[in-house]
Structures are given as C-alpha cells and as structure tokens.
C-alpha cells in the first residue's frame, strides 16, 4: 500500500518570494527518507508541498511536478482533499483537537469525513493506537480529553490519528523537536515499525536522529538569506554520513558551518 514519490523541477512560492527552487528527487516506498539542513532552507516547505498543505498558507503557490506512483498531485482536476487523505502528516508540535476525547481524536479523520461504519470504528481506533504504541497507556481513558496527555503521548496520539485514515505516505515535520529523549525514542521506534507499511518522510534538525531512523537522507541548503533553498544531495543515509559527494554536506554534518 505504500507508494513512491517522484519530484521533478519543484519550486514553491510565498506570494512572490521563491522559497525553494528546482528540487528533484525520488522517495522510495517502504523506507524512511530524512530531510536535513539549516533553518530556513525550505525543508518544511518542501514537505508541505508533498501533500498540498503548502497552498493552505495564504499566497502559497507551487510549480513543478510531484508524482505519486505516476499520478501528478498538481495535475488538473486533482482534489487536494483526496491528496491529503492519501498522504498524511504529523506536525512539529502535538496538536490534538481540544474539544475531542482521545477516542474521537483518533477517529477524527474518519468521523469528520463521514465515511465510516460505527461497528468498525472501535477496531480502527484500537489498531491505530496500538500502531502508535499508545494503546496500553490510554485504553482505560479513551473518553478523557486528548489535551490531558503528556507531550510525548499527545504526539503519538497525533500519529495514531494520522495512520487511522490509512494513508499511503506519512510526512513528519520535526515530530520529536518538542519532546524529551524517552518520548523521542518511543517515536523513533515507532517510525522503524511503521516503515514496513508506509513511505515515511521526516524532517529533522537532529543529525543523530536522521542517522538512526532513515534509509536515505536529503541535504538542503540555501546560498544566502533571501535566496531560495535547494536540494544539495540525496543518497543512502550511510553514504551521506560517511562519505558525502558534496563538501557542503560534510561541513554541515560535521558541524563546521550552519
């Protein structure tokens, strides 16, 4: 059920400001691809173009092609809503819906879209919470509000919510940056488990995390402030961290700049 993504010649704008330019890459199915790079280089913007969340920002505009198994996400007649149902997203800060219980948060994607059978819902919620390693912690308080959980639990709740709609691809925008090392470990383990079923793309500022969880790593950089961010190189994680082809990558990874 995982799908591959092929990006070619992608540029994203905020109004007239060109944020990222000329990005081409392939994202393999059933693997974890990590995006690293200095702040402001367009990693998150690029991630958001992959499920058409970029255009939610006022003035957000995209040029180029994003193919999901040969189907262009930006082709004519493509409904962004169905794109987002296929490609799920987890955000930097945990954002459970404050008006909903834990159960309703997980079921939100299905309930809000109205395409669910009541009898199946319990099973899906349990499966998703188990998938996010949260079931044992919350199974006795499914009707309590989701905002009462700890930060790490909330983030796993958001992951459960994202996988409950059974997307093909899961995008994660710095999912561990607001979490402590133990919660981070729990989520990294989870990513390792999820990659057998999903295509996962993760943005991270933590080099060790990229090295630990990802199969392939893409390094983004920008020439100067105000210049658009560009993809410098993408390769197997092992190769990027041991013997990158571009000098800038090595400098960034070893902490010599940026």
């Amino acid at each position: 059920m995982a799908k591959r993504i092929d990006v070619s010649g992608l540029a994203a704008y905020y109004g007239t400001h060109l944020a990222i330019d000329d990005i081409s890459m392939s994202i393999e199915p059933r693997s974890v691809t990590a995006f690293i790079g200095p702040s402001g280089c367009g990693k998150s913007t690029f991630l958001r173009t992959l499920n058409r969340m970029h255009e939610v920002t006022p003035g957000g505009r995209v040029e180029g092609k994003v193919l999901l198994d040969d189907e262009d996400l930006y082709g004519p007649g493509v409904d962004p809503v169905s794109v987002r149902r296929t490609i799920g997203m987890v955000f930097q800060r945990p954002n459970p819906f404050p008006t909903m219980s834990i159960y309703d948060n997980v079921a939100a994607g299905l309930k809000l879209n109205g395409n669910f059978k009541k009898a199946e819902l319990d099973g899906i919620v349990e499966k998703s919470l188990k998938g996010a390693n949260l079931w044992n912690e919350v199974k006795d308080r499914l009707n309590k509000p989701g905002s009462g959980l700890s930060g790490g639990q909330q983030q796993r709740l958001c992951i459960a919510r994202a996988i409950a709609v059974e997307p093909q691809v899961l995008l994660m925008d710095e999912p561990c940056s607001a979490l402590d090392p133990i919660s981070t470990l729990a989520i990294e383990d989870l990513i390792g488990e999820l990659k057998s079923q999903y295509t996962i793309v993760i943005v991270t500022h933590n080099m060790q995390q990229a090295a630990r969880v990802s199969d392939r790593t893409a390094f983004f950089n920008l020439a100067a402030v105000g210049q658009p961010g560009k993809l410098i190189e993408i390769d197997d994680t092992e190769r990027i961290f041991s013997n990158p082809t571009v000098q800038a990558t090595e400098d960034y990874i070893s902490g010599r700049f940026g």
Partner: protein
C-alpha cells in the same frame, strides 16, 4: 539558659543591617489598609466639619487623601522608586472603586425601588385598563414584547453575523474582506435612533407596513449584527492555526474543518459574544419608540400591531409622572436588569460548559 543560646545564635552574632545595597526600609504590610482607614476617617471628618452634604464628596476627598498620603509616606520611608510603584497601585485601586461605586449604587437603587412593585401580579398583568394614577397593573405585555423582539432580532442577526465572521476569518482575503470589516466598523457606530429611522423609512413609510414588533426587531438586528461579527471574529482568530492544519492534513474538506473543528473550539466565546449582543439590544428604546409604537395591552403577535417592550415601558411610565407609575418604571427597570443579568449568567454557563476541556 535559653538566653545564652539565643545570644549565641548566628543571627545575633552578625547583626543584620537595616540598610544596605539590597535592603531598604519598608512600610509594614498593613500600611495600605491603615492608610485606607485613616483616609476614610479623615474624609468623613473633613466632610462633616466643612458641612459637605454629598457623601460622594466625602468619598472623593478620602480617595484623594489616600493617594497623596501613600505617596508622601513611601517617599520619605522607602524612596522614590517604591513611591512611584505605590502611587500606581493606589491609583489603580482608587479608579477601580470609583468605577464600581456607580454600578453598585445603580443596582442598589433599582432593587430597593423596583422590588416594591415586582411581584407575581406585575409579571403576569398588562397595563390594559389600569388607571395610571393608581398602583396596580404590570409589565407582562412589555416582557412579552421584549422577548419576541430580541428573539426575532437574534434570529436575523446571529446567523448573518456568524457567517460574516466565518467569511472574514476563514475565507476573506483582499479588498472584499477589507471593505466588509470597514462597514462592520461603521455599523458599530450607528446610533440606535438612526437604525430605527432607516427601518421606519423603508418598512413603514416606503413599503407601507404597519407598526409591529418585527419592524423593531429588524432595527435591533442592525444594531446587533456588527457586535456579533466583531466578537465572533476575535474568537475565531484565537483558534490555533495548527488545529485547522491538523484537520486539513487528515483530508477533511475546509467547510467540515470549520464546522467540526474550528467552531466547536470557539463555541464558548462565540456564545458569550452573542449573548452580550442580545443584552446590549435588550435595553434599546429609540427604535421601539419609532417602530413598535408602544401599547398598554398584551399583543403576542410580533408581526401585527403595536407592542411594548421593557425599556419602552420604563420610559412610558416615567413620563406619566406620578408616584404609582414611578414605582412601575423602577419595577420595569429591575425586570430588565434581571433579564440581562440572567442572559449573561446563561452565557457564562454555556461558555464554561463548552470550553475545551483539559484534565486527565
């Protein structure tokens, strides 16, 4: 023995300096209360001696004395920075009291005078056939009128206001939304008599419809709409964008996101805003005067014929100018205040009940 041990305690061995780079002399904690009591006593004393009749003058003297004495005392004891701090604190307190006194005085006066006539008969009888010089009669017809008029006004204004605010916050970009915001601001400033005249010219004179509660409701709706738009807009802006994005990223269409995520998150504040707008229009007299005409008898049909309303009833009874009708005017005023207060409490209750829950 005890004396000896005390003498040898480290505190006594190194005597604590009363002044130093980090220590200044301080007024005792009870000083503000002491100065307050002193000022009130002095204010009353000066008022008595000078033969001032108004208690308000006594209070103002006490308030001024409190500010001055606090400032003078802290300047001499604690230094100028603390004095400025205390001056600001005392000014805040004095202003608070000055603001609250008229409110309590108003409520006290209304309750004291209004409770004389406010009973079962008052809320269940109209003024039909009552000789205005004599006690008796009631405000039932006015209560019915008020309820129906503001009910209809809310039915018109609340949905339009809500949808306008949703448009402005969730969809509006560019010139149209700027224009709408501008005109909503202009509408906020419309005097109620102008709203009344507009409906009078359009509905009654041009379309040749008769006086009715509905005509009044339309002008009340004009007054209510901008308040609803403004408060709802502020509440929707408070909903974190992350929640909208979370919902959109789940593949939920925008309209469903607004309906199922944004509105439920803000519903407490929105309800409060609508209720406050209702409370605001419940006290309007001018449009009622122009469009509902006023009546002494019960008319439960807001679409046909003259009605009364509580603020109009108060005005009408006061104008009659005799003891019995003065009492009825106060009774009507008390009824109106109680009604508005009940609405406010209801709004707060709903806001607390619907607010996003936190807790484990």
């Amino acid at each position: 023995m005890t004396d000896v041990t005390l003498d040898k305690s480290p505190v006594d061995e190194a005597p604590v300096p009363t002044t130093g780079p980090l220590r200044q002399p301080r007024l005792p904690n009870w000083a503000p209360y002491g100065i307050g009591a002193l000022s009130v006593a002095l204010g009353c004393g000066i008022g008595l001696v000078a033969g001032l009749e108004s208690r308000i003058q006594w209070g103002l003297i006490a308030a001024a004395l409190y500010v001055v004495v606090t400032f003078a005392l802290t300047t001499t004891v604690e230094g100028s920075r603390q004095a400025r701090d205390r001056l600001a604190t005392s000014l805040v307190w004095v202003s608070f009291l000055l603001a609250v006194v008229p409110l309590f005085s108003l409520i006290w006066e209304t309750v004291a005078r209004g409770s004389k006539v406010l009973d079962g008969t008052f809320v269940s009888h109209s003024m039909n056939g009552v000789i205005t010089l004599q006690p008796g009669g009631g405000a039932y017809h006015a209560l019915v009128g008020t309820l129906e008029q503001i009910g209809l006004a809310s039915l018109i204004a609340a949905p339009i206001g809500l949808l306008t605010a949703i448009y402005l916050v969730e969809y509006g970009t560019g010139k149209l939304s700027k224009a709408i915001t501008f005109f909503v601001d202009v509408m906020t400033g419309i005097p109620s008599i102008v709203a009344g005249l507009f409906v009078l010219a359009f509905w009654i004179i041009y379309l040749d419809m008769g006086y009715s509660g509905f005509a009044g409701a339309m002008s009340l709706a004009i007054l209510m709409m901008p308040i609803v738009v403004r408060s709802t807009e502020e509440m929707l802006k408070l909903v974190p964008n992350e929640l909208r994005e979370a919902s959109l990223a789940l593949g939920v269409p925008k309209w469903r996101t607004i309906l199922k995520v944004v509105l439920p998150t803000a519903i407490g504040g929105i309800t409060t805003g609508v209720m406050l707008a209702v409370a605001r229009i419940a006290g309007e007299t001018a449009p009622i005067l122009l469009l509902v005409f006023g009546s002494a008898s019960i008319n439960t049909n807001p679409f046909d014929g003259a009605q009364s309303s509580l603020p109009y009833y108060v005005y009408e009874q006061w104008k009659l100018g005799n003891e019995a009708s003065y009492d009825r005017a106060w009774g009507g005023a008390l009824l109106l205040i109680a009604f508005v207060m009940a609405l406010n409490l209801l709004a707060r209750g709903i806001a607390a009940w619907k607010a996003p829950k936190s807790g484990r």
